[in-house]
Symmetry: C2
Subunit: 309 residues, 2 copies
């Protein structure tokens, strides 16, 4: 099996866009055409709505992008039925040829980290959940990351380590600085060093980094610190990041980064200008238009315009 | 409803021990009397064995201790059937009067953090999973912790924030130091400040800290930095921490800390001296003996000997 880095590079080249669609189902925000008659207090009904909705989003975006990112928290919020919906969503996305990054921000030490890695990373023949990649938190240090790295490389999967996050309070601990730089720079150097053994033809390895779109300056700086790491860039759209803000995350061929948009795409039916054009009844039209608009913005304002097949 | 801190204090006083039993089911380590005839490749069978085993442990320890800690990773490793076993385990522990700390090391930002908090914290009437507390990673900063704090206080639940972990590589980022101290000390001060609004009669609040038994010196230091935080102390037993090592985590009344032991208790049937005395056939006898031995050690060598009802 090809490495995760190479599969991601192929997917981005084939779809000609680094747009990553985040699947963050929230019952209150789903189109009324899906939730009509359902109760938010009934987990089976909520999980069923999540499944219908996520499959509906996947149907629209699968021909346009190459990667989706389900957010584990929203599925976990619905208990066991939510976990069934998560499993079905991952499986459906795979069937449609999409790469799946599970956003679970997991972490632990030693054999417990290995259990998380085994749970999530790799195709369904090897892992319970069948994700191509998983987001991972670095607080527990090197011996909490290496079990993920080993399983990822063995199964052609990847991880994205939190480096510099997009939230306003992210700097509280990430920006603590000693004479070798801030915490996030230490984490970045660790990510780069974990990539050495898996760098492929694309120039990237299987150990990526989460770097927020809300810090355009650090995006460019971290690109230089981690020349071999794929960046997962959150914070575009709802959190205020623009296409121009994320330009520094890419290399000159338009590779090296995927830019996430969750609410701005999946709930476009409730947002200007899509609400006026599509509304509830044609929520999938709104998803498609918002996805196409993001693809166009990234093409116009970032090196993603240089992508070649 | 009483606050989590007060419920934890009552539980520890009632059981007269701060022993916390970690529920880390691993198929390979389960007693053969449970796994005989089952396949490790069949998730339904593995999850079924986890459920039987965890309930069997709970039956033994419920009269002896007041808190158990299921490790989410091992249940997640088995996919949806594993999540069913987790839900059943939490529910059974509650029925038996135990407090449940789910060890999931969750974290995210804003409304996603709120979704995790809503998922796990509080009784089954309010949350999908029904845990009394959840372990939480701090890397994402203050606005990633406050949603957990708000939900915890509202529902009489608690969180334990990773501060200084027990693994050998934990210092890589946690020990990075500026002129206000190391990262773990910054996190500790944040934990203490989050406790201000929930300090009860016991002198503790609902926002606890994970501080490893493998760093006895820092345990005492962090006790002083976080006088109002419950400590969850991992690393006892299998990871090398002794009762004497954890003494600094307690206040003079024997409150303020719970000490976790997972493998040393639940898989005692496979370890000297319990293997020789009990073996596979009476694995529950081994669990009971190991639990009683730990209770005795903590009583003899730490301020937990001062606990009064």
């Amino acid at each position: 099996m090809d490495s995760y880095a190479e599969r991601l590079a192929s997917g981005i080249r084939d779809s000609q866009t680094p747009t990553l669609v985040g699947l963050d189902p929230r019952f209150e925000s789903l189109p009324e055409t899906i939730t009509a008659g359902l109760s938010k207090n009934n987990p089976i009904e909520v999980a069923g709505a999540f499944q219908v909705f996520c499959k509906g989003v996947i149907d629209v975006v699968a021909p346009l992008v190459s990667v989706v990112k389900p957010q584990a928290a929203f599925f976990e919020q619905v208990g066991v039925p939510g976990m069934v919906a998560l499993a079905e969503t991952i499986s459906y996305a795979r069937e449609k040829g999409l790469l799946v990054i599970l956003d679970g921000k997991r972490n632990d030490i030693g054999s417990t980290a290995a259990a998380y890695a085994d749970a999530y990373l790799g195709p369904p023949e090897t892992s319970a959940w069948g994700a191509d990649a998983l987001t991972v938190s670095p607080y527990l240090g090197e011996d909490s990351l290496t079990p993920f790295v080993e399983v990822a490389e063995r199964r052609g999967a990847g991880i994205f380590v939190l480096v510099k996050t997009s939230n306003p309070g992210g700097g509280l601990f990430q920006d603590i600085e000693n004479d070798q730089g801030a915490v996030y720079q230490h984490v970045a150097r660790q990510v780069e060093s974990l990539n050495v053994s898996s760098i492929g033809a694309s120039g990237y390895g299987s150990i990526g980094a989460v770097v927020g779109a809300t810090y355009p300056e650090q995006l460019g700086e971290l690109r230089r610190v981690m020349p071999h790491a794929w960046f997962l860039v959150p914070g575009y759209g709802a959190q205020g990041g623009t296409a121009a803000d994320v330009a520094g995350a890419f290399d000159e061929k338009g590779l090296g980064a995927i830019v996430n948009n969750s609410r701005g795409i999946i709930f476009a039916h409730a947002k200007t200008p899509y609400r006026e054009r599509f509304g509830n009844a044609n929520w999938q039209g709104a998803v498609e238009a918002a996805t196409r608009d993001m693809i166009e913005s990234l093409r116009a304002e970032t090196p993603a315009g240089q992508l070649t097949r």
